[in-house]
Amino acid sequence: MSTTDVHAHRTTTPPADRATGGGAQVTAVRPPRISARGRAWRQRLVATLFLGPAVIYMVLFFGYPVIQNLIMGFQHYTITTFFTDEAPWAGWANYTEVLGSPLFRTALANTVIFTVGSILGQFVLGLGLALFFRRRFPLSGALRSLILLPWLIPLIVASAVWKWLLDTDSGALNRVLMGSGLIDSGIPWLSSTDLALFTVIVVNIWIGIPFNAVILHGGLQTIPQELYEAGSIDGTSRWQAFRHITWPMLRPVVSVVLVLGVVYTLKVLDIILGLTGGGPANATQTLATQAYQLSFATFDFGQGAAVSNILILISLLFAVIYLRLNRRPVDE
């Protein structure tokens, strides 16, 4: 019924209008003689047209890959599949295989340590810098833009340079430490199984500071100065001002930074691949690197997809927490 409606209008369009590229939309600007039902329908049509591109985009570029990945996790998806299109159903085999492998526990534990460590470091240092740059002092603008530097360097370049700086025997860091007499022999930053994960976390913190500092700095700018003035009249100390004014006002921004940070950190791949490739002896293997290696080194796309699905599930958990936090109004 509704489609005939459109056709009816279209046929009434004068030929001259059609020549300039007319269509159904012309009717949208013509007000008279339309029933209430027709108007409601048209409103819905307009809404659909506005929503359409976004929905198509989401389905095409988010929905399809995620669903494809979910399905792939239940298939024996190997190199052969690409040529024959045959991906035998595997049921839960990929998951039992992956969860049962000794590597999974290591990778999961490393993922948790890596994420918690990185977020903690990035957030604390980022917040410190944001607070610091709130004051105006000579060159503060120039310095503030300097913090963005790690963000401007491609990750694979950053990891190559860090790998070079952190080399046990010829790396600049150990050279400086040895030269100043602090240590006798080079510290195996990336080649010791005890240290490598720590080192990778430190590098990731360095990369994550700009994001945290910039967003938190933006959040700080929105806090009205009057609140601090009022506080100072009441005789608040600096700590009290932070505790009772800055922190509560900053909370919505903090929740965004933390949740985005967690999701970004969970999937970090390039830095680890560039620095250690998951080694030494899997000491820096995370779920993301394991998924990558299963899919693109051993070409077991089914198992790789299973690991990524587990990773997606964990990310989803944080996304839900984020939505929850956002729904509740912040100031009580």
Partner: protein, 428 residues
């Protein structure tokens, strides 16, 4: 840009002033938008179609020699072969790591090239998918190659690819440093251990090798593993543990840096060039760069064996050329003709000479040594060199992963060699 869209300019020019015209201007803006949205889609479609519109006498080639001088050398050899057959080539060279991904994409969209290069350990996996044509069916000669070369290209009894020129790894020794301490080049593991310890000095290690968590690490461990009689079908054996003990011993004794855990073969070469390592395990592809460095004198010897009675077994490296099954039999035959020319004696010799690689056919050895006498060590290793996929075929990647896992466990001191191999075998 809107000039090419007929409806647009009129609408825009007539646009704003009168209310009567606002409708048309809105309309044409919409049509501009629609055209704008369609244009990229149309462009995408036509570009996809390109591959299908290659003329009948033009063959598509894909390889991973993306850097000079290899890019030019291989390109020249391909052009010569194509000229002799009378066809044109459309060549794409992608970087080594992305080649397989490109092959998979093209395989799933049915756009594989007519001639395809594959790294030899990947060949059997691709052949197993039925994506390649067998050389016997196409009539490309496969006689006269070294056993290892043929094994690398064979899947279930049929040859699907051939490696024209091959390489392997050996021990590079810094001549001056050996003279300094008055030592002979090592032939056995004991001598190698002794040399590595003696040559270690302030700011310099006795030996450098690649022990990273990639197939490169596996590749460099294989000569010790195989020469001692270990077998990739069952890696947790005493022979394997002995080989692993030798390699991890260098790091534990301080004769090698613990950074070998992260070094690729290029990093190892850098250490040797900077004279921070007296010996290195590496391959002939480093020769062009090494020969360009003044004051660096080195000797290349075979990698030592545990017992001097053992024969050294080297891993076979090199890239195989194949004919994908594109379904266009006329082009498959042309591709076979081009490859036959590409694999002719003179073509192989010239590529081998320019690229510091060894001809895959023993009959060419003598002529080759006349042109490249400095390659003698590698030439001697090739007849017994073993293909990585000879035993396990398409299942090799899992074992390769297990081997570098064991290597990493032992090098980092996480486990002793036997334990490391036991743990790693769980991954197989």
């Amino acid at each position: 840009m809107p000039r090419h869209l007929p409806a647009a300019p009129r609408g825009i020019h007539r646009g704003a002033p009168s209310p009567g015209n606002s409708r048309t201007s809105g309309l044409s803006r919409r049509s501009v938008l629609a055209a704008g949205l369609l244009a990229p889609a149309a462009a995408l479609l036509t570009s996809c179609g390109d591959s299908g519109r290659v003329p009948a006498n033009t063959l598509r080639v894909m390889d991973s020699y993306s850097n000079d001088p290899d890019y030019g050398i291989i390109g020249g050899a391909l052009e010569d072969a194509a000229d002799r057959v009378g066809v044109k080539l459309q060549r794409v060279a992608v970087s080594g790591q992305s080649l397989i991904q490109r092959v998979l994409q093209q395989g799933s969209s049915g756009t594989l090239p007519d001639i395809l290069m594959l790294d030899n350990p990947d060949l059997q996996q691709i052949a197993a998918t039925t994506a390649l044509r067998s050389f016997d069916e196409l009539g490309i000669p496969t006689e006269g190659y070294h056993d290892g070369v043929l094994q690398a290209g064979t899947y279930e009894g049929d040859v699907y690819g051939v490696v024209p020129t091959v390489n392997t790894i050996a021990l590079f020794c810094n001549t001056a440093m050996f003279q300094e301490v008055g030592l002979d080049y090592p032939r056995t593991w004991d001598e190698l251990r002794g040399c590595a310890a003696e040559l270690t000095a302030d700011g310099r290690f006795g030996i450098a090798f690649c022990g990273n968590a990639t197939y490169e690490g596996t590749w460099q461990f294989l000569p010790f593993f195989w020469s001692n009689g270990a077998d990739e079908r069952s890696i947790a054996t005493e022979e394997a543990a002995e080989a692993l003990g030798l390699v991890s011993g260098f790091v534990q004794d301080g004769s090698a840096s613990s950074s070998v855990l992260n070094w690729g073969q290029a990093d190892v070469k850098d250490q040797f060039v900077a004279e921070r390592a007296a010996m290195m395990v590496n391959g002939p592809w480093q020769l062009p760069e090494l020969s360009g460095i003044e004051d660096l004198e080195y000797e290349i010897v075979m990698l030592p064996v545990r017992d001097s009675a053992q024969a050294p077994v080297a891993p076979l490296g090199g890239e195989a050329w194949t004919v994908p099954a594109t379904g266009d039999s006329a082009k498959e035959e042309l591709a076979a003709a081009v490859l036959t020319e590409f694999l002719s004696d003179e073509s192989i010799l010239s590529m081998a000479e320019q690229r510091f690689t060894v001809p895959g056919r023993p009959a060419l050895t003598e002529a080759y040594l006349q042109r490249r006498p400095d390659m003698d060590t590698f030439v001697d290793l090739i007849p017994e060199a073993r293909a990585r996929t000879a035993q396990l075929g398409e299942n090799w990647p899992t074992t390769a992963t297990a081997l570098y896992t064991a290597l990493q466990l032992a090098l980092s001191g996480q486990a002793d060699p036997a334990e490391a191999l036991d743990q790693a075998e769980e991954y197989v």
